[in-house]
Amino acid sequence: MSRADAEGVAPVANTAGADPVIVGMEVLIEDVRFSYPSGVEAVKGVSLSIRPGERVAIVGQNGAGKTTLVRQLNGIFRPTSGRVQVGDWITSEHTIAELATRVGYVFQNPDEQLFARTVRADVEFGPRNLGLDSAQVARRAETAIEAVGLSGVADLHPHHLSLSERKRVALAGVVAMGTPVVVLDEPTTGQDAAGVDMIAQVVAALTDAGRTVIAITHDMEFCAEHFDRVIVMAGGQVLVDGHPRDVFVRDAELDAAAVEPPQLTRLARALGWDDQPLSAEEFVGAFARRGAHS
């Protein structure tokens, strides 16, 4: 995706009368704990600081507390103790509706968030609620629908789309909101190779424009190839937090979190290489440095 497209997804400049998009907000999570009414403590003291424009992947087993943690950001859950700050707002002092202007959230199951009669109407709903004029709403929706590759089906009922397409409709709806922070819960599940590429391009465009992307994922290839920070969670706590190259060598923590490094990172380790290739390109580069095949 070109730079121009990236700006289309989230314009950086705020000229008079133009579409108002806030970009760049820090997220601070300070010693957050969260217990469900059942008494189960799902988040047990997490502190994180996430800069504007970061691409953060949160990984770990089902039940590790990943979803519970990110739901503190948009007020679906409120910390039992500790605090969460998005920009200058402390989340406990704001309503879910207010927080929705700063944190967009794409659910794992799109059917929990799609409701309109057409793809376009669904994507337009969020920006319209922000009080934008109809031309701005239409433009945002158009750009977001195009970014997820659904222009051809924009006037269909989401019901006629496949699950993987409905997931991309939900993503477009959040992209169109123009929130400074975007949370994606398992964005690549059920996507084919082209769908994963499209989502990766949307993530890149968002972060290039200064917006922060926080994605929960089990897809380590997606994580290694497209994110610059990986947070490994287990038992409601953060075990490791760092660049994928540094995280995917922490065997003890990865074992504890039942996370398996990406295919080529594992392969390089098994071959005894000291590089940590994260993509085919890096892997082949490392192979080339070891001398040509005789």
């Binding site: 080529l264 892997f283 082949v284």
Partner: protein, 283 residues
């Protein structure tokens, strides 16, 4: 076990065919993996193999669909469900909505087949142990995570012991440990003679567990073969089908003259370990 011959299908009121001239053979007691881009017709194919098309969804089906010796295209849906269990893509939609607990939910199909109560309980316990969901049996099917619902949906099909199980992306919401467990369970079921057709995007697992892979593209099955042959096929990209990162790296190394063309592209971890090991390969 499964034999589709020249099958074409159009949904009711649709102008175009969704599938055209599909041929598919799956042997008894094997795992067939079906791969293909979204929108290629995989879900339609799953419903045809399970008899939901044409019996539930209507539309125009031509050609023959034989499963376990029966012609599903002419039989009834009741015939079909006694032979084939279908695990659909979104587990939330698979849950009956009629039951209060996971135990009752898993037993729902058996109940409909008139299975005696004590046998029903035994089989539910067995399948729950197999998929490690015993701790969920007394919970409401709706109070579960997506991954847990997916395991319950799988359990409710496995428990029926149909000779064929068709699964449409059954592990999409599971973590890697859960996904591996499901594939291990499927491999164990295969050993008991059950035939499994699985629609999946997780290619490394298909490479490890499937006996054959079939590629759906352009409204038909365009390639069938051993997983290693299919995943190394140069045409996958043109059908918008991915492959393992080992193949991608092998192909890139070959393009740059780092691997001679006579070295087969590595498909699995083990093959890649041999191909990329300088110490062993340099002679």
């Amino acid at each position: 076990m499964i034999s589709l011959t020249d099958v074409s299908y159009a949904y009711p009121d649709a102008e175009a065919l969704t599938l055209e001239h599909v041929d598919l053979e799956v042997e008894r007691g094997s795992i067939a993996g079906i791969v293909g881009a979204s929108g290629a017709g995989k879900t339609t194919l799953a419903k045809i193999i399970a008899g939901f098309i044409p019996h539930a969804d209507g539309g125009e089906l031509s050609g023959t669909v034989r499963v376990d010796g029966r012609d599903l295209s002419t039989g009834s849906l009741v015939d079909a469900v006694s032979v084939v269990g279908l695990v659909i893509q979104n587990p939330f939609n698979q849950i009956s909505g009629a039951k209060y607990t996971v135990r009752e939910e898993i037993a729902f199909g058996l109940e409909n087949f008139g299975t005696p109560r004590d046998e029903m309980q035994r089989r539910v316990d067995e399948v729950a142990a197999l998929l490690r969901i015993e701790h969920l049996l007394d919970r409401s099917p709706y109070a579960l995570s997506g991954g847990q619902q997916q395991l319950v949906a799988i359990a409710s099909m496995i428990v029926l012991r149909t000779p064929v199980i068709v699964m449409d992306e059954p592990t999409a919401q599971l973590d890697p440990a859960g996904t591996r467990m499901v594939f291990d369970v499927l491999s164990a079921l295969r050993e008991t003679g059950i035939t499994i057709v699985i629609f999946e995007h997780k290619l490394e697992l298909l490479q490890q567990h499937a006996d054959r892979l079939h590629v759906v593209a352009d409204r038909s099955i365009v390639l069938s073969g051993a997983p290693d042959d299919v995943l190394a096929d140069d045409r996958l990209a043109q059908w918008a089908v991915g492959t393992t990162r080992y193949v991608t790296a092998g192909r890139l190394a070959r393009e740059r003259g780092l691997l001679p063309p006579e070295v087969p592209l590595p498909v699995s971890f083990e093959q890649a370990e041999r191909v990329f090991d300088r110490e062993r390969s340099v002679r």
